[in-house]
């Protein structure tokens, strides 16, 4: 099976920095699998993730070198997303590669409008279709039962864990091909964390997922592949079992066993 995304020899330099923050990174994102990125703070894992939907481009002056291939919807050829220049194509890219952030980010509108927002942006106007997608997305995010009676309430009235699931529902309402999670549970309590993790393992059946996490147990629990990054380099990438049971690089082993980081 073809990989959904392929990062090849990616070097990324922040605006004004002399040293690149990512150095010749290679990373495959397999279809319908969960790929985790672990590593100490500042190792570049979030930077890498934010390159994969070009959200970095909101701020001018950053530099990419290398290739990030995204499988076309025909499932045959790849497009290098780093070649995209037009605003409209970047928007299309971000609809295909969704993103969940460290903290829940409900928009200042109702629960219903939050989920429907992506559809509204992409020009869907039919009310019945929107309602259908909202319900389905909320069901997929295991939130429908809790909010179905208060869809017209401000989304900010939900609890932190519910807000984060709302953000996931909002992302999957757009039917993306890849979902990027940037430490999605770092602001949540253990029970909400568990709910999100369960959801990710269900979402895997439909989507290709890449998750950045500080929590190694989380990576071990939910991912199929794990990449260990350190100082802007991909130290080791392999099946999650291999990384956690018998890593081939000493540094990985040290990090996993808690000797540094």
């Amino acid at each position: 099976m073809k990989n959904m995304m392929e990062v090849q020899a990616l070097t990324f330099t922040y605006n004004g920095a002399t040293e690149p923050s990512l150095k010749r990174i290679n990373l495959p994102i397999e279809k319908n699998k969960v790929t985790a990125l672990i590593g100490p703070s500042g190792c570049g894992k979030s930077t890498l993730l934010r390159g994969m939907n070009r959200i970095h481009d909101l701020y001018p002056g950053h530099r990419y070198d290398g290739t990030i291939n995204l499988l076309n919807s025909d499932g045959e050829a790849y497009t290098d997303i780093l070649t995209i220049k037009k605003e409209a194509e970047l928007i299309r890219l971000r609809q295909r590669v969704g993103m969940i952030f460290q903290k829940p980010t409900p928009f200042p509108m109702t629960i219903f409008e939050n989920i429907a927002y992506g559809l509204k942006l992409s020009g869907v106007k039919k009310r019945t279709q929107i309602e259908e997608v909202v319900e389905q997305s909320l069901r997929d995010a295991a939130l429908w039962g809790e909010v179905k009676d208060r869809l017209s309430l401000d989304a900010r009235s939900l609890s932190g864990g519910q807000q984060q699931r709302l953000c996931i529902a909002r992302a999957i309402a757009l039917k993306p091909e890849v979902i990027l999670f940037d430490e999605p549970t770092s602001a949540l309590d253990p029970i909400s964390t568990l709910a999100i993790e369960e959801m990710i393992s269900v979402l895997r059946e439909q989507y290709s997922i890449c998750i950045v996490t500080h929590n190694m147990q989380q990576a071990a629990r939910i991912s199929d592949f794990t990449g260990f990054m350190y100082l802007g380099e991909m130290v080791e990438f392999d099946k999650t079992e291999t990384i956690f049971m018998k890593p081939s690089v000493k540094q990985t082993e040290d990090y996993i066993s808690g000797r540094f980081g």
Partner: protein
């Protein structure tokens, strides 16, 4: 130490209520003679300082004399000539200016209308521009530009209003009159000068409100495929709504009570505006211009006007808060 700090903070907070109540009380007490003389009819009377033949209203059962004395008197004065002199239901109505058969009539309608309209013109003019500046500075401008422009805006906000007034009178007024015709001092010029005056104030406050929107929230909207315009419209403005409305309310209050800038450019005549380019008057200007030559009832009338301005600002802010910030 902890206790002293707590008490001090409490004292400062209660001082606000004390000052508010004291101001209202003093205004009311000083205005009482005028309130008793003119009643609420003052609000709807458009004459100012005009001598009229004194008329004593006939008390009939279906007439509420206390409420509308001026109108009653006018009607009576027009209709009949024989006054019933012993009929007087105004408490303490013994001021010397109205002794005899004539008295001087004062009415607040012209300055009330002038104040409201000049403020409304100012708001219509300043809100879109101030919002444009605020959005540009916080969302669009590169940092290198946002910094100096932001400082310039803050400097503009700190210019004393008399300077805006002078500029308005000598340069801006003739300029506006050249475009729209009419006088170089007018309601329109006053409104625009007021607008220009509050723009930097409003823009600086709104920019601060907008810059509280978390980057992550904006990024998550971009990550759904929103454009800059959509992010600003759907996320930034709703998120910063209460701060932005707060800045508008504060600016409104400032425009409502502005004296010096308006005094230069509104004309200071007691006359209704037929066109926006006519000169008229506003409450703070009347107050500033008339205190020196007032005494007795005419002084009390000014306090009545001041009380009206006080109530107007209070009502405007209360209504605005009720309507726009209810869900907070």
């Amino acid at each position: 130490m902890e206790l002293i700090f707590k008490k001090l903070a409490q004292l400062s907070a209660s001082l606000v209520f004390f000052i508010l109540a004291a101001t209202a009380l003093v205004l009311y007490l000083s205005a009482r003679p005028a309130i008793e003389e003119f009643g609420l009819g003052f609000l709807f009377e458009s004459r100012w300082g005009v001598e009229e033949t004194r008329a004593q209203p006939v008390l009939s059962p279906n007439q509420v004399v206390d409420e509308m004395p001026v109108i009653d008197e006018q009607a009576d004065a027009l209709l009949d000539d024989d006054f019933i002199d012993d009929e007087d239901d105004f408490v303490g109505d013994d001021d010397d200016e109205s002794s005899g058969d004539t008295r001087i009539v004062y009415g607040a309608l012209v300055p009330i209308v002038g104040t409201l309209f000049s403020t409304l013109i100012a708001m219509f003019f300043s809100i879109p521009i101030a919002m444009g500046i605020a959005v540009f500075l916080s969302e669009i401008a590169p940092k290198l530009l946002a910094k100096p422009v932001g400082v310039a805006i803050e400097l503009l906000a700190s210019i004393p209003s008399i300077i805006y007034g002078m500029w308005g009178l000598f340069y801006f007024g003739p300029f506006i009159a050249g475009i729209f015709g009419g006088n170089t001092v007018s309601l329109l010029v006053a409104g625009l000068v007021l607008g220009i005056m509050v723009i930097p104030f409003m823009a600086a406050l709104s920019r601060d409100a907008i810059s509280t929107v978390p980057d992550m929230l904006k990024e998550s909207a971009y990550a759904m495929g929103a454009t800059k315009l959509e992010v600003i419209k759907d996320v930034v403005f709703p998120y910063a709504k209460s701060g932005i409305i707060g800045s508008i309310i504060l600016s409104f209050g400032r425009a409502l009570g502005e004296t010096m800038a308006v005094a230069f450019v509104i004309g200071g005549v007691y006359q209704f505006v037929g066109k926006v380019t006519d000169p008229t008057n506003s409450i703070p200007v009347v107050l500033a211009n008339s205190f020196a030559e007032s005494s007795g009832l005419s002084l009390s009338v000014l306090f009545y006007l001041a009380l009206i301005l006080f109530a107007m600002s209070f009502i405007v802010i209360a209504v605005a808060k009720f309507f726009f910030l209810r869900r907070k």
